[in-house]
């Protein structure tokens, strides 16, 4: 019991500690692929440190929501990361049905972020809030059809149990998992506002979806928002990697090495996808998301009917 708690706490510390490094890696790879040297890998840490020292300014007409929304976001991310299994270690919060809690925790974070954006009163943030709300609507089924289909097949409802039950033994199951992971990749790209949904490097406010919501925040608020963004990306990365992590491995060291290897491959994939693709037109994004849902549904249908 005690060792599990310690393992859980270590998992949380790993996730929180490594999240900016993950984002830094992706940016460095993107730069190398486009022929530049790019920023150092540890740049996100320095940026966060810089933000920590700056003065926090809030809009004059904003209410109490803008005060506590950044903090709420960060705390929710912490709780969500406490529910993720890293390697063999059982997460700190794990019970039957926690997959739904996980999805809606992230939803709650997004909800408050949208409210805070609308609270500021500027039209840019309102536009970003509207877009974010719409695309989140279409992205939610993807989560349930992907993870939900794995849950349906394994019969478990706790995230730790679900991932634990993935045994890569027969071919059709492997194909199923591969297609699930493609679908989860599309989900990750949407939720974390990466290309081809949203360009994180754009400076044109009219084209932003997520970045524009935090445009008027500064200092500690911005620090909390940015950090939550990094953690969210890392969380989705772990969701993706854990599909392939053969939980039937019995050595922690091998497991850890496979985990790091998987993380590196994921950063490569994200960087390549961001470099190659250009952004979709806004009106095409719902059908892109529906496509990802369709893949999930198809997957579920095929796997159920081959049994």
């Amino acid at each position: 019991m005690g060792i599990e708690i310690i393992q859980g706490i270590i998992s949380i510390i790993i996730i929180i500690g490594l999240a900016p490094l993950f984002a830094g890696f992706i940016n460095k790879l993107k730069a190398i692929l486009t022929g530049r040297i790019g920023a150092p890998v540890l740049l996100p840490y320095y940026e966060l440190q810089k933000l920590f020292k700056k003065e926090t300014i809030v809009a004059t007409d904003s209410s109490f929501i803008s005060r506590f929304s950044p903090l709420l976001n960060f705390i929710i991310m912490l709780i969500a990361s406490a529910m993720l299994p890293i390697g063999f270690w059982k997460p700190l919060i794990s019970f039957n049905g926690d997959i739904i809690l996980f999805a809606y925790m992230l939803g709650l974070a997004r909800f408050f972020q949208i409210l805070a954006a609308m609270d500021i009163g500027s039209s840019f943030e309102g536009m970003g809030a509207a877009r974010e709300a719409t695309f989140a609507l279409f992205a939610e089924p993807i989560f349930f059809f992907t993870l939900g289909s794995v849950a349906f097949i394994s019969g478990q409802t706790s995230m730790y149990e679900i991932y634990h039950s993935i045994r890569l033994d027969n071919v059709s199951y492997i194909v199923f998992i591969i297609i699930c992971s493609i679908s989860a990749f599309l989900l990750a790209v949407t939720e974390c506002s990466r290309m081809p949904i949203d360009d994180p490097n754009t400076h044109l406010e009219l084209t932003m979806i997520h970045e524009v919501m935090i445009l008027d925040n500064s200092g500690l608020d911005l620090y909390l928002y940015q950090y939550s963004g990094y953690i969210k990306l890392f969380i989705y990365g772990i969701l993706e990697i854990s599909f392939f992590y053969p939980f039937s491995a019995h050595s922690y060291l091998v497991g850890l090495i496979i985990f790091i290897f998987g993380a590196i491959i994921l950063t490569f994939t994200l960087a390549i996808v961001e470099t190659i693709t250009s952004r979709f037109k806004m009106k095409n994004i719902p059908q892109y998301l529906l496509f990802a849902t369709a893949i999930g549904i198809l997957n579920l249908l095929i796997y159920t009917f081959t049994k």
Binding site: V171, S172, V175, I179, N284, P286, Q287, Y288, L290, F291, T293, A294, I295, I297, L298, N299, L301, I302, T304, F305, T306
Partner: protein, 210 residues
């Protein structure tokens, strides 16, 4: 193995629904041709025979090379605009396709309890047939109608392999050649339509109404 290829076939059908380029259809036809020829070749890997290799090679030749080349030539000759103009939005179309596919899979599963059939290729083939009909109903450009017809034929082919009928090779080749000649004639017709009538939309074909 046949199941995996059928899954890829279904994914190509989804791609057809969301693409908005005319050349996207040609790409999908090529992919489907390659998938179909691999599906046909699989039983022959074990007992190899010269006779058994004729059909996959013919399929490869006709569906992957000749027909897409011919359609590309038509697109180039007529300078058809690259975008298709759909009659209903892409999003609702994709939703319709997902619902249809789900219904077909469920119905096939129910049917497979009385007869023994290979569920996945059967359902994939049948959904390709229905999606081909949807493309013909909901799209305006004539060249897209021809592509929809070819997807319908691909669906029939996949469906035929799953029924595990020992249709003689001759009939399959006859069907393939028929499809090729039909597409050839349609191409000539489209050529003439775009030069004599004003455009290559179905809206141009309105004279013969009662």
């Amino acid at each position: 193995m046949g199941n995996v290829l059928s899954i890829l076939f279904c994914l190509s059908l989804f791609y057809v629904c969301i693409t908005s380029r005319v050349k996207g259809f040609v790409t999908v036809l090529r992919i489907q041709g390659i998938l179909l020829s691999i599906i046909i070749v699989i039983p022959f890997i074990y007992h190899f025979s010269v006779f058994g290799i004729i059909l996959p090679v013919t399929i490869l030749l006709v569906k992957v090379y000749l027909i897409p080349k011919y359609i590309n030539k038509i697109i180039l000759d007529l300078d058809i605009k690259r975008m298709i103009e759909p009659t209903i939005q892409q999003f609702s179309f994709l939703l319709l396709v997902i619902v249809t596919m789900t219904v077909i899979f469920i119905v096939t599963h129910i049917l497979s309890q009385s007869t023994e059939l290979n569920v996945i290729p059967f359902a994939s083939g049948f959904s390709a047939i229905i999606i081909g009909i949807y493309i013909i109903m909901f799209r305006k450009k004539l060249i897209v109608h021809v592509a929809g017809f070819l997807i319908l034929e691909n669906g029939i082919f996949l469906f035929g392999t799953s029924v595990a009928s020992e249709l003689p090779v001759m009939i399959e080749m006859g069907m393939l050649l028929d499809v090729f000649v039909v597409v050839f004639l349609m191409g000539i017709a489209i050529n003439n339509i775009s030069t004599t009538l004003s455009g290559f939309d179905v809206t141009a074909l309105g004279r013969l109404k009662d």
